[in-house]
Subunit: 152 residues, 2 copies
């Protein structure tokens, strides 16, 4: 399979990864959630080529994850902001952060702390079932083909 | 920055992505959570080269995400199973699936349905705060440097 064929798969994970699965894309999205908005800032923070940044931002805009907005008129300059669709990627980034905090933090502890404004506490994300509200672990999930499954 | 330098970043997301951020690695992990265990099965399902599969599986074993286990003695054949650390990646995969279900499913609906064995219902994962149990969205989170932050 070529990477470009992924979005033809009857699999939501494959299709989502066709958009966000690129390694640098995920790092750019991390930065978006930290409030980074400008091309130069993405490039400086990640220390990668302009081409990589340009390509990744273009795909994210095409897919409606980011929107490109002028923040200055003369000369025109643009910034990149998460759309509502983009904000829905927050659970993905947070789940990755949690795994990293758990397994790759230095002895001093996680490098970044996250506070839930709602309750004022530092927190880690917990994944619960939309039906019963209980935490869900891998062993408690049974996957089966839905009507949207065309067969592979 | 080179990709290999990511794990030196004082960022749990960067460090986690240094291990799982590769596109095919995430597809392999998807398959692991669907019960795929054998080299040939990973390769056949993804239709990618043996080299890519070999490399990705080796890194996942080195990192303790998968363990390699003999399932046959003569000739010796191995399978790859998620470790406890690997099972902790379930929230990442599930969060990606949810984003895909939401934005990339066909009209007929999500291709794969997931049932929570605990309550017997089909569900979507919801991310809640570990402190108060309420759902957490991007706008409700404030990130700050922790003691494990060495500065970039």
């Amino acid at each position: 399979m070529k990477w470009d064929d992924l979005n033809a798969q009857p699999c939501s994970i494959a299709r989502a990864l066709a958009v966000i699965g690129d390694r640098w894309t995920l790092m750019i999205l991390r930065d978006c959630f930290l409030g980074v908005r400008r091309f130069e800032a993405f490039q400086a923070r990640l220390g990668i080529s302009r081409t990589i940044v340009t390509d990744r931002l273009r795909l994210l805009v095409e897919e409606g994850v980011l929107r490109r907005e002028a923040y200055q008129a003369n000369p025109v300059r643009h910034e990149y902001r998460l759309t509502d669709k983009g904000l829905e990627l927050h659970p993905v980034i947070l789940a990755i952060a949690r795994f990293g905090d758990e397994h790759y933090a230095d002895e001093a502890g996680p490098p970044v702390l996250r506070r839930h404004k709602g309750c004022g506490c530092d927190f880690q994300p917990v994944q619960v079932c939309s039906a019963c509200g209980e935490p869900v672990s891998a062993r408690q999930v049974e996957a089966r083909a839905g009507v949207g499954f065309a067969g592979v």
